[in-house]
């Protein structure tokens, strides 16, 4: 006897009703959900009541999607931090009695105070479910087991992925409290089917495996799911992970304070907005939605944050969105290439937008380079300029470094039309990271970075 009936298990989508719904019907449903979320936030969250009152807008005035786009203000992380500071830890951002808390998370606070994230049981279940759309589309079912190769901390990180495994009904094997070598031994012992990790850690385990004489491609892992940083939607990075593990690699894009918003497309070239539980806009620097097919900042509304509602939340992530039907059959908004960069990482070289994800993708095309690199951005009187440090593969002779650097610069010039200097260095000369890699170094003055001046900014 199986957990799911055979006919149900054979379904292509986790929720076929909405995942194949026509765009116009989805948009009508979104309006109703947005009105519900706004009504709730205004009634329960002092932060939202003050924000909407300051902008002289009442929930009942949001009658159309145009009202939502034009009348409601954006909200940024700083405003939530300010609201939490009123009475820490949650202050005016809180919308529900602590009786309903299920789990508390916090961001690292590396760029200021940590942002506190209260999750109710309701939110936790549905943060989890947002992963299940990916698990299901990737062919993962209740009979499969998942390996989690990291410690369980206060960061939301992969907790929601764990909640998703529980929601699906599959098995969890935890690698918490172990080092990388012990985790690889555990993988050999427990033979899990799926591993979740950041792209950096999935690749880092390859170096550990080589030291141990373990061939990851011969382990039981048949699916690697990556999250936490771009990589799964960058073909070269995905292919490197797939070759290393002998597995299929999928990604999920999420944001710590708002959850797993975009499960990866099973065709692997991008991700879909999880339209059951999230609404999104993609806007330009003036705050106006960009047409489908264009790049802008991802603005997200959650329908499942009843502890700390977030409506028109600025993610600072740059994405390209499209409403074109996807080959996977889903009608949910599609983001080819996943996250293309951060708004504060946007580089404009002689009028050409250069996205860090594109730099990574192109570097992988250059024969002789490894996956380790750094992008440095600076600015002269009129322009941003970019230099790249990249490590050569271990089997490349040092006399070829300059030639490979010229090859890489040539690829940038021919594909994106800008000059980027590439310095090729010896293997092991750049820092190594276990979880998330720091690859982008911005030396520009703050005034030359993306500023959203959009309507409704408080």
């Amino acid at each position: 006897m199986n957990l799911y009936k055979p006919a149900v298990e054979a379904q292509k989508f986790w929720n076929p009703y909405t995942q194949t719904m026509a765009r116009a019907d989805l948009d009508r449903l979104h309006l109703r959900k947005l009105q519900t979320a706004i009504e709730y936030a205004y009634a329960k969250s002092p932060m939202y009541r003050k924000l909407l009152d300051r902008h002289k807008v009442k929930p009942e005035q949001i009658r159309t999607m145009d009202d939502f786009v034009k009348r409601l203000p954006f909200i940024d992380k700083k405003e939530i931090l300010d609201a939490q500071a009123v009475s820490p830890p949650f202050g005016d951002a809180l919308a529900i009695s602590e009786d309903f808390f299920h789990q508390r998370f916090a961001t690292s606070g590396s760029t200021g105070a940590p942002l506190h994230i209260p999750l109710t049981y309701h939110s936790a279940e549905l943060w989890g479910e947002s992963w299940v759309y990916l698990y299901w589309a990737a062919g993962i079912r209740a009979r499969h087991s998942f390996y989690f190769p990291f410690n369980w901390g206060i960061f939301a990180a992969f907790w929601s992925a764990y909640m998703g495994v529980r929601r699906l009904g599959a098995t969890v094997v935890s690698g918490g409290g172990l080092d990388s070598k012990a985790r690889l031994r555990q993988i050999e012992q427990y033979r899990p089917d799926v591993m979740l990790a950041t792209p950096t850690y999935a690749l880092y385990l390859g170096e550990t495996a080589r030291e141990m004489g373990v061939d990851l491609a011969k382990t039981s892992i048949s699916t690697v799911i990556v999250s936490g940083e771009p990589g799964g939607s960058i073909p070269a990075t995905r292919h490197a992970i797939e070759a290393l593990w002998g597995a299929r690699c999928y990604e999920l894009y999420g944001i710590a304070e708002i959850g797993p918003t975009n499960p990866g497309c099973p065709l692997q070239e991008g991700n879909h907005l999880c339209e059951d539980w999230y609404h999104a806009l993609v806007v330009d620097e003036s705050g106006n939605p960009v047409p489908y097919g264009e790049v802008g900042e991802h603005i997200v509304t959650s329908y499942i944050q009843d502890g700390q509602p977030l409506i028109k939340y600025r993610t600072h992530d740059l994405v390209r969105w499209t409403d074109q039907p996807c080959g996977c059959g889903s009608t949910w908004l599609y983001y080819p290439g996943g996250v293309l960069g951060r708004t504060d990482h946007m580089i404009i070289v002689k009028g050409v937008n250069v996205y860090p994800a594109a730099v990574e993708a192109l570097l992988h095309r250059v024969s002789g380079l490894s996956e380790h690199y750094e992008v440095h951005v600076d600015r002269d009187a009129t322009n941003d300029f970019v230099t790249v440090k990249a490590e050569a593969r271990a089997d490349i002779d040092g006399v070829r470094y300059a030639e490979i650097g010229r090859d890489a610069a040539g690829v940038f010039k021919s594909v994106i039309g800008v000059s980027i200097d590439v310095t090729v260095q010896a293997p092991g000369s750049l820092p190594r990271y276990e979880l998330k890699a720091k690859r982008f170094f911005d030396h520009r003055p703050a005034g030359h970075r993306w500023q959203l001046a959009g309507r409704g900014q408080a």
Binding site: N15, Y17, T18, L29, R32, K33, T36, A37, Y40, A43, K44, I96, F100, T120, Y121, H122, E125, L126, E129, D276, Y303, D306, P309
Partner: protein, 60 residues
């Protein structure tokens, strides 16, 4: 089963669960009914039947 039929049964089920949640003085039963109420609410959202953010915000 059609979406409408599913929703009709879900609403009936949720009403009965809510009644039992209110009537019970057993903590274990109250918590279980509270979770069932939540799952009915989730299932209705999944089928596009949107009334409130969470069961507590639904007018009873």
């Amino acid at each position: 089963m059609t979406r409408e039929e599913t929703l009709e049964r879900l609403r009936e089920l949720q009403t009965r669960v809510q009644e039992l949640r209110q009537a019970s003085d057993n903590p274990a039963i109250e918590r279980t009914m509270q979770l069932l109420d939540l799952y009915c609410h989730m299932a209705r959202w999944e089928l596009g039947d949107v009334r409130a953010m969470n069961p507590e915000a639904e007018s009873r």
